[in-house]
Every structure is written in C-alpha cells, then in structure tokens.
Symmetry: C2
Subunit: 462 residues, 2 copies
C-alpha cells in the first residue's frame, strides 16, 4: 500500500495529540453525573469522523446515549465494511491506585512499551482502538486509496450493556447493510505474536439484594437470633461454586460447547507462561475450574464472579450492627450456545430458591449478551490474516477471548454478517483497571494494518 | 424519698430541654471528622456535672477522647458509688432511613410512648441514660438528700471499644475507689416489667482483608482463572458456621458456660412473644443456633456476625471487574468465661488457615472485652431491687443481655468492685439503628428510681 508507513511517520505526533484530546473527556456511561461529558465525547467523535473524510456524519439519538454514525459510499457494487466501536469508558475507581489522574493522559515508557504508552482511562478500551480506524480512514481518503465503502457506528453505552443498540440496529437495518463488521475492542497475544480473536464469551450481569430485618439492628441484642443478610449473602454466594469450582446452578452447563481434544491441543499451542502470568498478578497460584488450563478457564469455560459486594457499616472504625440489607453485583461469562437470557432466568430462580427463610431475596437482571465464534474460512478472517502478515511479517494466531462483546451476536442476528475482531491491545493494558494504557507502537501498528484489511477484503470479495 | 416525684414534675420540661441540647452535638467517636463535636460534648458533660453539684469536675486527657470525671465526697466513712457512662454515640448511617435528622432531636408520641419519646442518635445509648444520673444527682444535692459519696466517670470512646479507659482506670485507681459501680447503658424488658441486666456478653471485633491479584482485573479476561477476593471472602465467611449455625472455629466453645436446665427454665419465664418479635422486625422466622430459644441465642450463647462487607464496584450501574481486595468487619459476642483476647487469636489463626492459595489474608484485631455476671445476692443487686419495687411497684426480673459492656469486666479486675446495670431503655429504642429514641416516661422513671438505689445501698452497707 502506497506510503502508509511514511504517512504515519509524518503525522505520528498529531495522531497522538488528537487521541490525547479525546481521552481528556471523562465519558463514564455508568455514572449519570458524567452525562454531559459523554455527550461531549460524541460530538468530538463526530468531528473526527468528518475530518477523516466520512460523509453524512450524524449523532443519532437513542433512549440513552447517542450513537455516532458516518459513512463513505464510493459505489454500490463495492463491498461495504461496517466499523463498530464505543466512545464510553469504564468508571476509573479505585482512583487512589492510579499513578496519574485517569483523565489527564500522560505518556510514559514501560518495559513492554519502550516507545511509550498513553496512560488514561479508555486509552485502549476503546477510544484508542476506535481512533486507529479513524486515522486509517483519514489515510485512505486523503491518499485516494479507499478501496470500498465504509460505515462507522460508534456507540456510547458499551460499558453499560449497549442497552439501546439493538433498537437502533433494528430501526436502521437498511442504512447499516454491510459485507463484514470490523471491530477493534480486544487484544492480541503480544507485540511479536499477532492474534485475531475468533471467539468471545457471552455475559449475564445481575444485581442481588438480600433483606433481613426491616431495620439495622444492634448485633449484641439481636446477634445470633435473626438472619444476618451479610452472612446469608456470603453463604449463598459461596454455594454457587462446588469443590471443583464448577457453578452449581442447575442447567447452567447444559448447552456449554465442549471443545474436542484436537481443538484444545491447538489452543494449548499459544505461547503462555504460567509463571510470568502469576508473577504479573503477584499471586502464588492460579485458581479455577478443575480439569482446565488457565487459558481454557478464561476463554472456553463459563464463569461466575462477584464484581461488587456491600452491606452494613463500611466506614472508619467499628459499628456493631446487623444490617437490614446486603447487596452484590454478580456477572457470569458464557460460552457459545449458552443463551444469556436463559442463564439469567436460571440464576434468578436458583438464587431465590436457595434463600433461607428469614430473608427476602431480589435478583435484578442488569444486562447481557451471547458468545460468538468467527469462522476461520471466511473472507473476513482471510483478509485480516493477510493484513497482519503484511505489517507484522507473520500470520496471526486465532484465539478465543474471555471477554464479552455482546453486540457481535446481535449483529449476526440482525445484520446477517460476520464480525472480525482485530484487536491491537495487550492484556497488560490494564483495561477496566487503574493505570489503563495503550502502547503507541500498538496504536500506530493498528493504523498501518487496517488499510491492508480494506485492500484484501475488497480483493477477496471480487 | 422526700418529694422526688414533685421535683421531677416541677423540672420535667427543663430536664427534657437540657438533654435535647446535649443530643444536638454529633459526638461520633468512630469518625475522626467529628472530633471537635466529641470534644465539645465532653465540655457540655462537665458543665452539667457541675450544675448537678459535683466537685473537682475535670476533663481528663487520654491518648484518645477525654474522660469527664467529677465527684461529691461527703464523708470517707460513707459508701461510695461510681457512676459510669459514655457521651459518644454510634455513627447514624444509613441516614436515608431516619425520619428526622439524627442530631436534630424531635419529640414524637408512639404506640409504646404515648407520653412522647425523644428521637435522636444517642437519646437512649447513652446520653439519655447518663443524663438520668446527672438529674438524679441534681435532685439529691439540691434537696440535701445525697446519702453517700458519688463519683462520675463519663467516657467518650465506648462505641469504639473504650481504647484508653483501661490505662485511665489503672492510673487512677486511688481516685476511683468505690463500693459499687452503677451503669445505665442497657434496657429493661418493658415499661411494666422492670428488669436488671445481670449478665452481658463479651466481644471480639476484627477487620479482615482478602487480597487476590495485585490490581483490579477485567472479569472477562481473567474471570475463572484467578481467585476472586469477594468470592473467596464469601466462602470463608460462609464456612464460619456449620449446618446447625454453630461457629466452626476450633476451640471457640471450649470455655463457654453451659447453663443448667433450671437456669434455662428460669430464663424462659421472662415474658416473650416470638410472633411479636418477628412482626416487629418484619421477618418470616428467626434464625440461629439449633437447640436454643431466641432469648438464649442472643443472651447466653456466643455468636459471630459480619457487621460490614465491601469490595469491588459498588457504585451505580455495572463494572465487570475482579477486585484486588475485599474486606469485612466481623464481631463475635462472647459469654462469661470466654476470654476475648484468646478468642481473637483463635479467629485470626483459623481465618488465616482457611484461606486458599492464590489469596493473602490479613486479620486486624479491632477491640473487645469479656462477658460478666452480677451476683444476685450482692448488696448492690438488693439495693437496686428495692429501688425498682419503690418506683415500679414490682421487683425487677434478673436478665442476661446479649450486648457487651467490656469495661464491666475491666472494672472488676482493676477496681475490685461489682457493677449494677440499671438500664431504663427498651429494645424498641432502636439504639445503633436509624430513628433511635428514648421514652420520656423511661427517662423520668430513671431519674426517680436512681435516688432510691443510693438510699438503699447506703442503708444496706451499714
């Protein structure tokens, strides 16, 4: 491809500065007090799409945060790529664990990123990766090398379950028609081991509330005589796993896809050092379902994790209280074939059934989505493979990821097209954690690789 | 006793107004941001003691909040009563459950208190009950009916474990010599069933911290592969009780005093309606150790309750995170003969021993104290009995309480004297809960009854 490397070299600093500007806006979709910042981010995305050569760029209202849409249609007979991403970010807390403020981006060199990395919430997930596509688009339009039609759909509610995306997609099926969907919201194995995510897990996220007495009680006067919601909630949560760390919800595993011995052997070839993994997390040992490796546990097996728990007195000092209520946020990662709505129902009825008399239990389904697998023989996967070979000098490894991008399954259902997950982040990016960052090398490699995907996808589609 | 009823009638409104003033000061000892209010409260107590006729009133410095001391020594040959109480209060949260601000006292009539009750944090525990003693003192001095020597010791750290009281008592043994200690920091069975608390439970309060990975992790990428501190903490907490709701800590029950069949039959005579109890708490059923009644579970049996738990994302919306840390505040109520320091050690070593590999566990002992039993044949108990008979027209029922006043055991050890727990509060006072209140009838009955204790204790001591 003509001069993509040079173009990036010439514009490198501007590419970084423009991303830094976007990262300064705290677009936390989970916290309504940040509403204006989220909306401001949508405006910024619109401007950047227009600068990159998109047409008919529009901030599309939804019941929640808007979806930014833009397109460049060259010719109805050419294939069309739909790029999806999100401009909202995870909440940054716990703030005290950040080495620099989450919305004041700084560039620092690290062992993994001697060329520097941008530290900020959203740097990798997903503002940085969305920006790779916008800058690749800019390159292709400004050098007249855009080989096909492009549509951008950048939403603002991915971190809270893409609540309003389904309605939007259904109402805009015409406008969104495409031949392949391209998403960069995942990672690759390492800087010298490119990989394409070919499988993602589904998700069911619920919030539970356990109510005991109708008011907080003195633990001396009532302790031992009434059900303590925290003790009960702990018991209930503990009972959700058996001694092999399998989930005890009846029917939970019924539809779980069991991989063949061959597939598992293939997976096991991905470079992985358990020692390095444990060292990086400062844990003595890993922990999970008996009979599966770490990479299997977080990719092809469903899981249940408590993401938050609270109840009683959590302030400074001591309070001898039996609280009236205790709460937990619980999420389950699902594998292909598990239906998130069915699993949510199974969880709800099981969790309610194990509540002892003396407490009331409420389960509030939060959001979710199904898992997905990309066929390796699809044109999209082949085009992506060739693109990586071009820029990395080696073929990417197909990889199952433990994360969830529920909308991928939604797209297949509503738009009847396959999704290619070209992620340029690294596990060490600390997405969803303090000190999230995105390597400048990764950022630029993404910008360089994407245009080749456009090229090969157009060629292979002929 | 000359004119005590009249004196109360004449000064009733002032007695209420003066208490209301004290209740307005938020003396929350657990939260250091309230420090100045706690100190201001000590000043107020000093002034009130002086007004009541105490001499040598002094705000005695400690490493923490000061202890207010005052005395009235008539004659070295007369018996001496030491009155203990505390001017600090529990934190008021959850604030949204209060019907009126916790530090803006209001008087409302209730079913139990047609004569009105004062609603405010500390109304019953313990400012209101301390004030009964101050007003009784005022009556006796102003009418020249004080029959013996009196010493007041009012501390400001009871709700956080009386951290510095032991040192103070040891350093002031001379000044604190007494023949009996009188405390009103407990309740009675009901307005028409006076009772004296003859047994209290000990306490061991600890805080635990479970650490998994060295940073918060994305629950999709790591879920199922690393130990989740919340899931683990829940499992560990759940394992602290067996299927009979007995505590599983090895050695925990070794020194527990087992009551005789006769004693349990005696206890069972106290009026109690399980139906009313459950209705008042809006629970379908009580919950506790198999083989014991509700009154036994919260009085003569040791317990373990989680008073607070927190970890992960507890804000609005959803965050798919595996937190690095999870925490809980856990307290154990102990019965006579259990040593709180020994129990704390047993908890610590057991809790650390059940932590699975893959997490680190830290147990921080918070505070505690031992249980205590008052001998019914003591002069103090006899004097109290006669005092109640005088004002209530019936003998009080000796009752074991589930609460803890660790300093009672401390007093016996350091000052070699017995404590009489003359409490005028009711279970329905909601101490440690939102909408704490103290009945005006109870308040005035306390003021009326206390001088009779002084009278009979002096007579019986001759």
């Amino acid at each position: 491809m003509k001069s993509v490397k040079n173009y990036i070299q010439e514009n490198k600093q501007r590419f970084i500065d423009e991303l830094v500007e976007l990262l300064k806006i705290p677009s936390i979709s989970a916290d309504s007090s940040y509403k204006n910042y989220v909306l401001k981010t949508a405006e910024a995305v619109k401007l950047n799409l227009e600068k990159a050569g998109c047409e008919h760029v529009e901030i599309c209202k939804t019941k929640g945060y808007p979806i930014v849409y833009g397109e460049k249609i060259l010719n109805k007979n050419l294939p069309t790529i739909l790029v999806y991403g999100h401009y909202d970010v995870q909440p940054p807390d716990p703030l005290d664990l950040w080495n620099s403020p989450p919305f004041e981006p700084v560039i620092k060199n690290t062992e993994t990123h001697p060329e520097g990395a941008i530290f900020a919430r959203g740097a990798s997930d997903d503002k940085g990766q969305v920006f790779m596509h916008i800058k690749a688009m800019e390159f292709m339009t400004s050098t007249n090398q855009l080989p096909c039609n492009v549509k951008f759909m950048i939403e603002g509610e991915e971190e809270v379950g893409s609540k309003n995306l389904e309605a939007f997609v259904k109402e805009n099926q015409e406008r969104l028609t495409n031949d392949v969907i391209l998403i960069s919201d995942t990672g690759m194995i390492s800087k010298d081991t490119p990989s394409i995510t070919t499988g993602i897990r589904g998700l069911s996220y619920v919030e539970v509330e356990v109510t005991g007495p109708n008011r907080d009680l003195h633990s001396g006067l009532y302790g031992g005589a009434v059900a303590n919601p925290i003790n009960i909630l702990s018991k209930m949560i503990a009972s959700l796993h058996d001694e092999n760390n399998q989930i005890t919800i009846p029917g939970f595993y019924d539809k779980v896809e069991e991989l063949s011995k061959e597939e598992r052997t293939e997976m096991a070839k991905a470079p992985f050092s358990l020692e390095a993994y444990q060292k990086a997390l400062d844990i003595e040992t890993v922990y999970g379902e008996t009979g599966y490796s770490t990479n299997e546990r977080n990719a092809i097996r469903p899981t249940l994790d408590v993401n938050g728990i609270w109840g009683g007195y959590i302030g400074e000092g001591a309070k001898t209280v039996i609280p009236s209520k205790a709460y937990a946020k619980i999420s389950m990662r699902l594998v292909p074939n598990q239906d998130w709505e069915e699993i949510t129902k199974l969880f709800k009825s099981h969790f309610e059934s194990i509540a002892p008399k003396g407490v009331k239990v409420e389960v509030k389904p939060h959001h979710g989505g199904n898992g997905y697998v990309t066929p390796l023989n699809s044109i999209g996967y082949q085009a992506a493979s060739k693109a990586y070979l071009e820029t990395f000098g080696k073929l990417p490894i197909p990889q199952r990821s433990g994360g969830s991008i529920p909308i991928v399954a939604l797209f297949e259902k509503e738009l009847k097209s396959k999704t290619i997950l070209m992620g340029f982040g690294l596990d060490s990016d600390a997405i969803h954690s303090p000190n999230e960052h995105f390597g400048i090398w990764n950022y630029l490699m993404g910008i360089e690789t994407i245009p080749y995907f456009y090229k090969y996808f157009t060629e292979l589609s002929k």
